[in-house]
Symmetry: C2
Subunit: 464 residues, 2 copies
């Protein structure tokens, strides 16, 4: 990024640093993990002049941000400005509008007979969402160097651009959507004026980017259907950094996990999944498919194990808690039905531990990635990059990753439980030579574009 | 239809007659009620040479149908042929695929984290659905007069046309969809090969008709998106027959109900809805909106009543039972919260009684029709035709009826509870002169097209 002629500003809800009180009470910055966005961008931004504007997410973050307008602090190689929202504003903007409305709209997750319910609580939350975007916009207006490229990340910041535009015509604004984008049918579930504000908010950017052409077309279809002039659009897929992943895989923690998994699953074929427990990830249907596999082809019983690294997320939302419980009950039922003294059909790991997940990805025979809908899905690319057992991938056709891995990964329609069972069986039975060939091609595609390519595409889109 | 040059065959799941055993054990035909399709078509077909092919829906129907190929029986002015499916085939085709899959797809009702689940039970049901369509196709091939126009009605018969086409090239096949049609995003929820079979099945007709241009375009978009050649398409909206309605409204039963309602709701403004208890009808949000109305504008308390004629349907599906219970609990809660000794905020009538529904439609001040999605919605047109209190209509923008009544009816986005509350308040407060004007315009539009126009459009589409 040093060669970039124009200064760069990154804007996202979560930033690369979080603050904590030390033993003596002073605030100390730490590098945080969290999400493909931050982990992909952080190494590229570290040590540069790039300003990263993010939300203060905790009380300690808010203390570090201080009162008054956001200001840049330098720590751990980053130049970060934390935007301190009122806690209620942050909660309503992020949890209610971001995660419980827009996420559901873009992924098509609503149960329409009951949800969503655009009532007075929603209106209050939408006003908070607007305020949240306004606070980010104010920070951009205040802090962005003259002529900067501003990279606005993801759906939480959909309303940001129009609040910056007229006040800082020198800036180039680029929005990147990490989710799928709702086409006219799904976006119709958001009523006006909100729908119009959302599209108009995105259209006020100089360019809008998406992981795949499919989401890009859904966005432009929605703009056309609802009478909003389209901005320039572009496609820039994100992939993991192979060197970063190799470093994690080679770490002591990961190698210890790998050793344990090797002992635990010795002599069995291993199906793996790694996911947040998230409605869009389709965890229930993955287990239903596995159950059908064991039913239809009993020869797999005792000879295969499904190890799922699935860790809780968004448990502030009732739907997610209920979903987690259903997942746990289903696992218990399958183990109760098929398990024997010497064989547990499903093993779940429920803490979020990246080193362990990478170790698990190292040793799958089949990686199951079957989301109902997913902007990209990095696991589908991380797997092939760290796996050394010639493992293959069963991949939902409704993921961004499918656009790149399709045909080399086995495709499944995510709602088709029987087809998923059949494809799992086919993948488990694949001959070694064919397996090796597929694994090599998966690895090649998965490693073909890293975060630096993705970032370069965004910067290029700004200057076009 | 007498002037029609070509013979006509109507094909639908439900026909105009049902059979029952008399006291002496002999089978007697009766005219059945049931749905806008049958009630709209039956008077036009009665007394003509038209052959109506329908499912045998009960044991007595099956007995009347007899063994072997379907044959035409004459009764009550109809020439009817009943197709006798195996009871399990009928149940799987109609309840599972028709009502629990295709209905959900076209109306967008799935809760995707859990449903649908295309498993082995689904595959068995789809095979039954195919067999059900095959039986209808066999009856058409067997019974249709040379050169006939065959009017295939609704989504249950989506696979019929390709099974007739090559065997009877002399026939013209016209399919009419009474539901909304799923565009590419919603139809994507049905995996291949089923999606392709569905589109190919419809495309094998000479023409496909829809209630509105919106559903027509969704169909052609889906054909294009999924690589199926579009057939000729047309739009033909259905409206009630004003004379039929007037006859019901003038019946003794209806007049008695009207008198009772007059006494019961004297001195109050009356909000009315008339619906099957059906996930797409959005009954919960209607009551939530009413609750918000009473909260935000307490001056309505004691001065308005919401009388809902809502009667159970499809209670063989767990979702419908659960939904009914939620509706009943919500009504109880609102009445518990706001009701007084002299005033019940919500009154529900839960038996399916058309004379009573018509009486209720006669006396609303505001008719609420707020489906999440609806192919047409005849209640929105029946109301204005029988109402004599200058009542106005609050109408979901996601109904076919909105395309015709939009702007004269008040529009609401069906998911927007707060907007619905506001529009209800506005409608209740409307001045008499403006109210009279709106009611007159609603009546004019609602009566502008009857079943005969709709039928004529289908026949015209066949000969183009």
């Amino acid at each position: 990024m040093g060669a970039q002629a124009r200064p760069v500003v990154v804007v996202s809800n979560r930033g690369p640093l979080s603050f904590r009180r030390d033993a003596d009470g002073s605030l100390v910055a730490r590098r945080g993990g969290g999400g493909g966005l931050v982990s992909g961008l952080a190494p590229l931004v570290s040590g540069t002049d790039t300003i990263w504007i993010a939300s203060a997410l905790s009380d300690d973050d808010r203390a570090a941000a201080g009162a008054g307008p956001a200001r840049v602090v330098q720590a751990e190689g980053f130049r970060v400005a934390l935007v301190a929202h009122e806690p209620d504003v942050l909660r309503m903007a992020y949890d209610v509008i971001g995660n419980a409305v827009l996420w559901f709209v873009h992924h098509g997750l609503f149960e329409l007979a009951r949800r969503p319910r655009y009532d007075r609580a929603f209106r209050t939350a939408w006003a908070a969402f607007d305020r949240y975007n306004q606070s980010f916009a104010d920070a951009v207006v205040e802090l962005a160097p003259h002529g900067a490229v501003v990279l606005v990340q993801d759906y939480h910041l959909s309303l940001c651009a129009p609040k910056v535009r007229d006040r800082r015509p020198d800036l180039s604004l680029v929005h990147f959507a990490h989710t799928p984008f709702a086409g006219p049918e799904l976006l119709g579930l958001l009523p006006d004026p909100y729908r119009h504000e959302l599209l108009r908010g995105l259209a006020a950017n100089d360019a809008c980017g998406f992981h795949t052409d499919r989401w890009r077309r859904r966005f432009t279809d929605s703009c056309r259907s609802y009478g909003v002039a389209e901005p320039r659009t572009f496609v820039a897929s994100l992939g993991p950094d192979p060197a970063d992943l190799a470093a994690v895989a080679g770490s002591e923690a990961s190698r210890q996990w790998r050793h344990r998994f090797g002992e635990r699953f010795a002599g069995q074929q291993l199906i793996v999944r790694v996911d947040r427990i998230e409605l869009s990830k389709n965890i229930l249907r993955g287990f239903w498919a596995y159950e059908e596999l064991l039913e239809r082809w009993p020869e797999f019983q005792g000879r295969v194990c499904f190890c799922a690294s699935i860790y809780p997320s968004r448990e502030g939302l009732a739907e997610y808690l209920a979903y987690r419980q259903e997942v746990e009950h289903l696992v218990a039922r399958i183990n109760g039905r098929f398990g024997t003294a010497g064989w547990t059909p499903v093993v779940i790991e429920t803490s979020d531990d990246f080193a362990r997940s990478v170790a698990l990805l190292g040793c799958y025979d089949v990686l199951l990635v079957n989301p109902v809908s997913d902007g990209m899905n990095l696991v589908a690319k991380e797997g092939p990059l760290v796996n050394d057992r010639d493992g293959v991938v069963v991949l939902s056709t409704e993921t961004g990753a499918w656009e790149e891995l399709g045909g080399v990964a086995y495709g499944v329609h995510p709602l088709d439980v029987s087809a998923t069972a059949e494809v799992l069986a086919e993948a488990l039975r694949l001959e070694p030579a064919a397996r090796r060939d597929r694994a090599a091609r998966l690895r090649e595609i998965a490693g073909s574009r890293g975060p630096a390519d993705w970032l370069a595409d965004q910067l290029a889109a700004a200057s076009r």
